[in-house]
Each structure stands twice: as C-alpha cells, then as structure tokens.
C-alpha cells in the first residue's frame, strides 16, 4: 500500500516546500560534522609542519581528475532538475543515472588510488596525516555512496513521473557533497 502523506506534509507556512526546508537543515547538520573534522585537521596540520612530507605522497592529478568528475556530475544533476521542472520525468531520470555514473567513476578512481597508497605502506595508521586523509575522504565517500543510492531510488520514481520535486532535493544534496570535496581537495592534496 502506498504511503499517504498527512496534510501536515503539504502545508507550507514559510512558503518554502517542506522537503527543501528539510534538506537545508540536513545540510546544516552535515556542515558542522565536516566542519568539526576539517577544523580539527587544520589545527593539527598547523601544529605539525612535518605532515607536509606525508602529504607530498598524495597524487594531485588523481585528486584533480576526481574533482572534475564530481563537478561534471553536479552539472548533470542541475540538468536533471531542469528536466523535472519541465515535468519531464524520463529525461530527469536519465540525467540522474548519468550523475550516478559520475559517483561510481569517482568511487572507482578513489578505490584505485587508495589501493596504490595502501600497498605503498601509507595506511590509515601510518601517521597523523594519513589518519585524517582516510577519515575525511572516507566520510566523504560514504556521502557519495549514500547520495548515489538515494539518487537511484529517486530516478526510478521520476521515470514513472512520481515525486518529481525530489529531483531538486537530491540535487541540492549532491552539490553539497561536491562542495565538501572542493574543500578536501586543496586541504589533502594541494597543500604540500
């Protein structure tokens, strides 16, 4: 039996649709999670100039490639939102699948990168820098995985023309995942 939404869900005393409001609050809670982690990392990094030696072993080109992949996937997410606004669920779904493709590419590249690093001995316990490197990127990767799964569910709905407003919501979330990476990339790869 399909779930019937209560009247409360459809009200909008602020004029902002409830789903969008909730996503922004979700992102606010995410900002402090990543903010706490990256703030801690920054304080440690400033206190440990020698971590630059460890950071020198990260591969900036792989990081840059992944940045490009994520940015492109954000672009397809925007196109999906546009299609959903037009009421074109089928196109929106296809564009979301492309976005998922970006997420998967990102994860595959990341997996390969980590494999190379771990076999070279740079594991999470190697030193403080690597601990933060894997923790921060791992937490981000978890968000990529969660986003991709939710996007799949939304794409399946959108394809049948249902819940099209959710295409925008997952888009907002996806931009956030993108923005986190924009912070991680310079902090973990470029600062050497």
């Amino acid at each position: 039996m399909a779930f019937a939404k209560p009247a409360a869900t459809l009200r909008s005393a602020t004029g902002i649709p409830t789903g969008r409001l909730a996503v922004w609050w979700l992102l606010a809670s995410e900002v402090v999670i990543f903010g706490g982690l990256l703030g801690t990392y920054l304080m440690f990094r400033l206190g440990h100039p020698e971590w630059a030696d460890a950071a020198a072993h990260t591969n900036t080109w792989i990081g840059a490639f992944n940045t490009l992949v994520l940015l492109t996937s954000s672009f397809t997410a925007v196109l999906a939102h546009q299609a959903a606004e037009r009421g074109d669920g089928k196109t929106a779904a296809k564009l979301l699948v492309l976005t998922i493709g970006g997420a998967l590419t990102f994860l595959v590249v990341k997996g390969a990168e980590w494999t190379i690093e771990i076999t070279a001995g740079y594991t999470i316990t190697a030193n403080g820098f690597w601990s933060f490197y894997y923790t921060a990127a791992g937490l981000h990767a978890l968000h990529v995985i969660a986003g991709a799964i939710i996007m799949g569910i939304i794409a399946a709905d959108a394809y049948r023309g249902r819940e099209l407003q959710r295409v925008e919501l997952i888009g907002i979330y996806w931009h956030f995942v993108d923005v986190v990476w924009i912070f991680l990339f310079p902090l973990l790869y470029i600062a050497k």
Binding site: P6, P17, T18, G39, T40, G128, Q165
Partner: protein
C-alpha cells in the same frame, strides 16, 4: 518546486485516512506521531528504571563498601566503573533526550500547532527504530566479554581509546556505537521537529502564537544539530583509535587527548541546554495554565532562549580548567560562563512574574512545575562556583560537581518529565490521574532528592573525589562522619526509588479505572485540548483547527470564562 506543493493543496486531507498495519504491528510499525511518542516515552521510562537500578547498586557500594548488594551481588571495581558510566550515559542520552524532546516533542508539536501529523512520518518512525537499536546496543554492551564500558560518560581518551587501559575492548566500542546511533536518531527527529514547526502550523498561527514548549523543543533541536557534528567526527576518530589503532588522541603519535575534550564539551555543554529548554517550556506552559495568567513576556522569554542558545556555544572549556588550557583562555570561558547565568536568571524571573498575582491551583502538575524552578535554582547557583576558574580548580571532579549537575539534570529529566507526564496524561490516555497519589509521589520524590544531594555537596566541599570505587582505600576520606553522609544519601535514594512504585501504581490504576478526562480537563487554551482525549488518528477528524489568538489568553477581562482557546473565532 513550489508549484508541486501547491498542486497538492486541494487534496482533501481526509482522503489519506488509511487504516495502516493491523494488530500488534499497529503499535510497533505505526507512523502516527502519538504512537511514536508513546514508543519513545515507554522506552525512556524503561531506561530510567535501568539507570535508577544502577544508581541503587553503586550507591550501596559507596555507603557500604564490599557489601553484597541485594539484587546484584558484590560489586567489583570494573562493574562499579561500568555502572557509573552507563548510569550517566543512560540518564542523559536514553532518558532525558527521548522523554523530554522525542516523546513530548512528538506528541505535542503536531497537536499544539494544529497539524494531523509530523511532516515526515516515516522518517519519524525510522528515528525511533534507530533509537531503539541504540538502546539495545547499549544494554547488550553491559553483557559482553570484559563488561560494559567504564571510562565515564565523558569518555576521555586515552582511557577510552586503548583497550589495555580500560579493559573493556568490546564494551567501549559498543558504547560509542550506541551513542553515535542515538545521535543519528535525534538528528532525524530534530529535522522533523524543526520543519514541522516551521511549515505545518495551522492557518492563522503566527510565530508568536506558538506555545512556548514547542518553541523550546525546536530551539533545543537546533542547538543539538549545530553542536553534535564535531562530536560525531570526534567519535569516528575515537572509534578508529579503539579498533584499528590510529593515533588521533595519542600524543606519542602526533595526536592530542585534549582534542576529545574540546569536541565532547563543544557538544556537551549545549546539550545541557538541549534538555533544559524543553523542561522550561513545559514548566512555563503548566504555570500559565495553573496560575490562570498570561505568560509574562512571551517574546522576552523567546529571545532570552535564543540568547542562551547562542551563548551556550562559547562556554565549553569551563569543563577543562584543569586540563592544561591557557589561563588566559580560562578567563575568557569564565566570563562567558558567568554571562550565561543572566539569560537563565531572566527565564526564572519570567516564570516568577507569571506566578505573581495569578490565581494559583496547586494540582500535581503545578507542584512539579514549581519544584522544577526551586530545585533548578540550586543547581544554577552552585554552577557559578564551578564556572569561576579559581574555585573550580579546587572543586573539579569532586562530589560538589556531581551534586551540582544532579541539581540541574534531576529537575530537568525527572521533575520536568513528571510535570509533563502528569499534565498531559489526561490527553494521552483519556483518564485523570489520582491527585492524591500524585501528591504522595511528588513529596516522596522531592524530599528524598534533596536528602541525596545536599550531603553530596558537603562531601564534595570536604574533598571527596568522584569515580572512586571504595573510600576505605583513602584514609582521609574514610572517616565515620563522611560515611554517615554517604549513608544518608543512599538511604534517601532507597526511599525515593520506593516512592516511584506509587507513580507506577497511579499510572496503571488511573489508566484502568480513572475518571474520564474529557477534552479539556485543565481548562487550557492550546490546541491539543480542543480534540478528543486521546486524539484519534489524524488528530481532528472533523477538520483541522484554525488559530485566532496566542496560547496564553487566560483571565481575559472581557470574558466570563477565564480561558480562551486558540481556535475559538471572535
């Protein structure tokens, strides 16, 4: 996507009245906010019994070291540590939060703002299920190899990070996992509360028409959401330190144990206000109803609460005065800490001013609300001793601290919950509670409570350190006079626990045989009292209410009745 929402507006809200799952599933798989509130409430009450039992066991050990505690047996040092740690964790994370925020937030917010449910009922259900999983994980952690985690509810590394130190390898990780799951549950619930209050209000209900308890629960949810993030990151780091051997908190490997203290208390201090605010909201709503008087300074109260919330993010290091922080920083945090007593005092004055000149009815809920004020004041005032860094260096980690925060948390978590429970019981179960039994239970709780913790203040000033399993090992703390005070506290605890039986008896008998409550037994104004008791699925079957005025229009001079429901036109 505003147009999508608008397109749905014309859908008749009765159309969604489905019957949902049947039988037992109706209770455990429901998306109805009232049922989820009950789930939180009963889980919280069960955990309160567990936490109370733990307090009983370790208080017995403290008063009569080495005794075989009836119902437990002899307490080993490891068990003692696990008991105090989990007592603290349970009372804050699995009693205060689920009962005050989740249970009453869930029950009251939709009913008080005139909505038929939360805006995301299925996320609401998921939130409870994750919470339940966290509670089960915590309880399971007490029975694993090595026993439950014993590193205190603050879980400072390196003790919490290294299995060789805490001797509870599995227990510590399970404890951490349980706390993390609990955070997830409350983040989901919090987003639901915030968006529901923002968007799902009844037509006509403006920001200042919202009952203060709803505001307080939502502001508390926002505080929680903004403070817990760094600790979630910190918990992930601690988990890696425990399980795969990273060195985030290990100074030998470039880490820093004080980092945890910062992350923990950046959350931990706002957390005090996260649970305090709902209790204050409950108190002010009850006091307005039973003083038959408009709240003195609705907006003042609201702005003060926001000020408290903002300030609460800048006081955390007063927990770390002796952790080696720079004394100049300690001064800054001392100033912010003492500053925060200003808005809190203001909240108390608003409550007192509301009482002034009212026609006060001393029903059981009102007694609880007044007791909350009186007892919390003692907690607040003793906090000033600890906020002053000079005094704190002496008091730190003594029973003075312990008595202080029990004088804040007990009024919040226990008195506040009893106030809310006795006030809204007629709405929740459709029956009146016995006022006589209610008053016996009230005095049987309040008097022993003071006899537990006033002796502990004295012991703390006398230098009795916390977290000590057996004071016999410390000759200067093992004098007969000190043991006398310890025993007074323990006896008082036994009396208080015994009087809780009156409460459970009252609940069951009132629910079974109590007088029918009717819609509005307290002659209150807010919307939850305009529907049946208990409200049916959808809350107002004959159509959702509109709102015409604020929630506290008591004793209006132009009216014969001394109350004026929010939904009454004209």
């Amino acid at each position: 996507m505003a147009h999508t929402a608008v397109a749905h507006q014309h859908v008749d809200h009765h159309a969604h009245e489905h019957h949902g799952p049947q039988g037992i599933l109706k209770y455990i798989w429901s998306t109805d906010h009232k049922m989820i509130a009950m789930q939180y409430l009963f889980t919280g009450m069960f955990m309160a019994v567990v936490g109370g039992y733990m307090a009983y066991v370790f208080r017995m050990q403290l008063a009569f070291p080495g005794i075989s505690v009836p119902g437990f047996g002899q307490v080993s040092p490891g068990e003692y540590n696990a008991l105090v740690t989990n007592h603290g964790s349970i009372m804050i994370f699995w009693v205060a939060m689920p009962v005050l925020i989740a249970a009453f937030g869930n029950y009251l917010i939709p009913l008080m703002i005139g909505a038929d449910d939360m805006v995301f009922p299925r996320i609401n259900r998921l939130s409870y299920q994750i919470f339940l999983a966290s509670a089960l994980l915590l309880l399971a952690s007490l029975f694993v190899q090595g026993g439950g985690f014993g590193g205190a509810w603050t879980s400072y590394p390196p003790l919490s990070a290294v299995g060789e130190y805490n001797q509870t390898d599995l227990g510590s990780s399970m404890w951490l996992g349980a706390v993390a799951l609990e955070f997830v549950a409350f983040l989901l619930g919090g987003i639901n509360f915030i968006t529901t209050l923002m968007n799902a209000r009844a037509p006509g209900m403006k920001a200042y028409d919202i009952p203060l308890v709803c505001w307080m629960i939502v502001i508390a949810s926002i505080l929680f959401m903004l403070s817990v993030g760094p600790l979630i990151a910190g918990a992930a780091m601690l988990f890696f330190d425990q399980t795969i051997g990273t060195g985030f908190y290990d100074p030998a490997r470039g880490g820093d144990p004080v980092l945890w203290q910062h992350l923990f208390w950046f959350f931990g201090h706002p957390e005090v206000y996260v649970v305090l605010l709902p209790a204050i909201g409950i108190t002010i709503d009850i006091i307005a109803t039973f003083a038959r008087k408009k709240v003195f300074g609705y907006k003042l109260m609201l702005y003060t609460t926001v000020a408290t919330g903002v300030l609460s993010f800048f006081v955390w290091a007063h927990h770390q005065f002796i952790a080696g922080i720079d004394p100049r920083m300690a001064n800054v945090f001392m100033v912010t800490t003492l500053l925060i007593s200003v808005p809190i005092a203001e909240l108390c004055f608003v409550i007192i001013a509301t009482l002034y000149g009212g026609s006060i009815r001393l029903a059981t809920p009102m007694l609880w609300a007044l007791a909350f004020m009186a007892e919390f004041l003692i907690g607040g005032v003793t906090g000033i001793f600890l906020g002053a860094s000079g005094a704190d260096i002496y008091f730190h980690d003594t029973y003075f601290v312990l008595a202080h925060f029990h004088y804040t948390f007990f009024p919040i978590a226990i008195i506040g919950s009893f106030a809310a429970f006795t006030y809204w019981f007629p709405k929740m179960f459709g029956k009146m509670m016995s006022d006589t039994l209610g008053k016996i239970h009230f005095w049987g709780t309040i008097i022993p409570f003071n006899f537990i913790f006033i002796p502990l203040f004295v012991l703390g000033i006398g230098g009795q350190h916390r977290r000590i399993y057996n004071y016999e090992h410390f000759p200067e703390l093992a004098g007969a006079d000190m043991y006398q005070l310890r025993r007074i506290a323990t006896y008082a605890l036994l009396v208080m626990l015994a009087f809780q039986l009156v409460f459970f008896y009252n609940c069951i008998m009132s629910w079974w045989k109590g007088k029918a409550a009717g819609k509005n037994p307290w002659q209150s104004n807010t919307l939850e009292w305009t529907t049946e008791s208990p409200p049916p699925h959808g809350n107002w079957p004959e159509g959702l209410p509109n709102v015409y005025r604020g929630p506290y229009e008591y004793s209006h001079p132009d009216r014969e009745e001394d109350y004026w429901p929010q939904n009454e036109p004209g």
